[in-house]
């Protein structure tokens, strides 16, 4: 069974998904960061495939992409690093990135290798729904890989429903009209948008991302969605970290603090 399906079956609220860029801060930090995230209590890990031109990302993630590429990270190396990942990591792994490197790698080969490694799904911000349906769905599904779509405050209800219909995993609810890391905090206007999405009673679970950085924003997001995604804020933790293990544990604990008490 796909581990994303498992997570959403077992857990209905307060799901924390964390993004980091592979190859950042160090080329070989990929597996250690994943291990620390799992141990610290993350529910899903999003591994970023670095790209030269990440148009949907703000300065923090742009810089982590540049640094990772400079460190020598590329898609082939990332897949090599993930070779034995399932010996250590049992929570869902999602690869996130821009579509061009994957296209160059070869879609079929990429999907097959990801399946063998135990990857559960993909997020490609620049692969729109129609392109996915027309050309790539078949390959993804054949290898049991879920494709995760984004929706934004500007996405019409009609399109949200179409995306829901064509999704087989969670829906990534982008919290505001912005690139990553552009805004912090959640306004009442954003909360109204989250409520609107919640009221649509979608068949797939939702995770809210962009602007989630701490306990307060995580909790606000969890009120109307199944959980939330942290990206830029976590990259900043890594950027300044001298001790990855301690810093990752402290950060994740600080975000999830309230829930640990309430749930258990």
């Amino acid at each position: 069974m796909n581990r994303l399906d498992e997570v959403f079956q077992q857990k209905k609220a307060n799901i924390l998904s964390v993004y980091f860029t592979a190859g950042f801060p160090g080329l070989t930090d990929t597996i250690p960061i994943m291990t620390h995230l799992q141990d610290a209590g993350a529910d899903i890990i999003e591994v970023g495939i670095p790209y030269s031109d990440p148009v949907a990302d703000g300065p923090t993630i742009q810089e982590s992409n540049q640094a990772a590429l400079k460190n020598g990270m590329n898609l082939r190396l990332l897949l090599q690093q993930l070779k034995d990942v399932r010996k250590q990591i049992n929570i869902p792994i999602v690869l996130m990135g821009y579509f061009n490197p994957v296209m160059q790698y070869g879609i079929e080969r990429f999907c097959q290798e990801c399946h063998e490694l135990g990857v559960d799904g993909f997020i490609f911000p620049d692969l729109p729904m129609q392109m996915y349906l027309d050309e790539f769905k078949e390959a993804f599904e054949k290898h049991g890989l879920h494709n995760i779509f984004l929706i934004t405050p500007q996405t019409s209800d009609e399109r949200v429903r179409a995306i829901d219909k064509n999704s087989d995993s969670f829906i990534y609810v982008v919290s505001s009209a912005s690139i990553t890391g552009a805004k912090t905090g959640i306004s009442s206007e954003q909360e109204a948008y989250f409520q609107r999405i919640c009221d649509l009673k979608l068949k797939n679970p939702t995770l809210i991302g962009f602007g989630i950085s701490n306990q307060e924003t995580f909790e606000k997001a969890c009120k109307t969605a199944h959980g939330a995604i942290i990206g830029s804020a976590f990259i900043k933790v890594l950027e300044h970290s001298k001790d990855l293990k301690t810093d990752i544990h402290n950060y994740i604990r600080s975000v999830k603090k309230a829930h640990e008490n309430i749930i258990h």
Binding site: Y51, S52, D53, V55, A56, G58, Q62, Q66, L69, N74, L75, R76, Y98, F99, N100, P101, V102, M103, Q104, Y105, P125, D126, L127, P128, M131, F149, L150, I151, T152, Q154, T155, S156, R159, V174, A177, S178, I179, A182
Partner: protein, 395 residues
Amino acid sequence: MEYNVNDKGFYGKFGGAYIPEMLYPNVAELRDTYLEIIQETAFQEQFYYLLKHYVGRPTPLYLAERLSEKYKAQIYLKREDLCHTGAHKINNTIGQILVARKLGKKSIIAETGAGQHGVATATVCALMGMDCIIYMGSHDMERQKPNVERMKILGATVIPATSGSKTLKDATNEAMRHWINHPQETHYIIGSVVGPHPYPAMVALFQSVISDEIKMQLQQQIGRENPDYIIACVGGGSNAAGAFYHFMDNKDVKLVAVEAAGKGVNSGQSAATTALGTMGILHGSRTLLMQTEDGQVTEPYSISAGLDYPGIGPLHAHLFDTKRATFYAVTDENAMKAGIALSRLEGIIPAIETAHALAALDEMQLQPHESRYSPQQARRYYSSNRDCPRPGCTR
């Protein structure tokens, strides 16, 4: 219509709209409405009124006699440099700002390489009283300072793009990010035939006035509407798209596209996309681009800021793929030489972008028999068919 965009936004294998969901509503709105807007009578009237009285169209089609003699051919220059603001870019910015107004947008953003598109955008924003932000690579801002000053005088805010090679590609990334952050009020005027569908098709359509005029002017001047060759430089490819547009389906007209080879196609410092590129996704369309084996976009190089781009519009990728157009790559050095040569033969100093197209004449080895009319004949025909008043003319 073999070379036009299909209803899914593709030119053969190339095109489409690979954009983040954040941009979907804007791009979809444009895709669903632009043709209807452009075809409205009021739009057409205003567009052509401005092209005539504001831009100064039609631009001359000038028989360059001394250049013709040099190459033993009959060479005409389509003088887009005589457009208001000094380049063809304004044909597109006028069209797009009228579309933006129709869509109720309040502010305009654009990317620019050489600064010509930035100036053309700042100009129409001033004309229409709209806010204007131009993204420009910080490296380009250095080498094109006069254009930066012009944009500022026109009231635009110029924001340097400091990532990557600090040129056109990076300016385009920054403009897209701005659009993601301000989707509702803003229209993004892309300056070339690149970007997600419908941009390549829309920009080509606005620039098609160039080939429309060439046809009419050739008919008036030499009694035939089709040339043997159309030669144009290609960065993203907007002037080439405009010059080719009405000739694409007529295979008697050979299309020649000229890219920037920089310091040499294989020097590692080049922008010759069709020579070095492979299929991939850049700025929202599937096209030919210069990239590493790993799919990272390569930093291009050319002396010409307007050609310093790692991709090419999907239409041109298709023309290349189907061999409808012949592509040449011209080095910095040869472009400079051709530019100086034209200046001294004709008293016309071309843009360094255009000079690349002129340099291709050296490589094309035109055969005298291909030129069906001598310059002398052409001049006689032109004099007997002139439609403008002249001193002593009693007509």
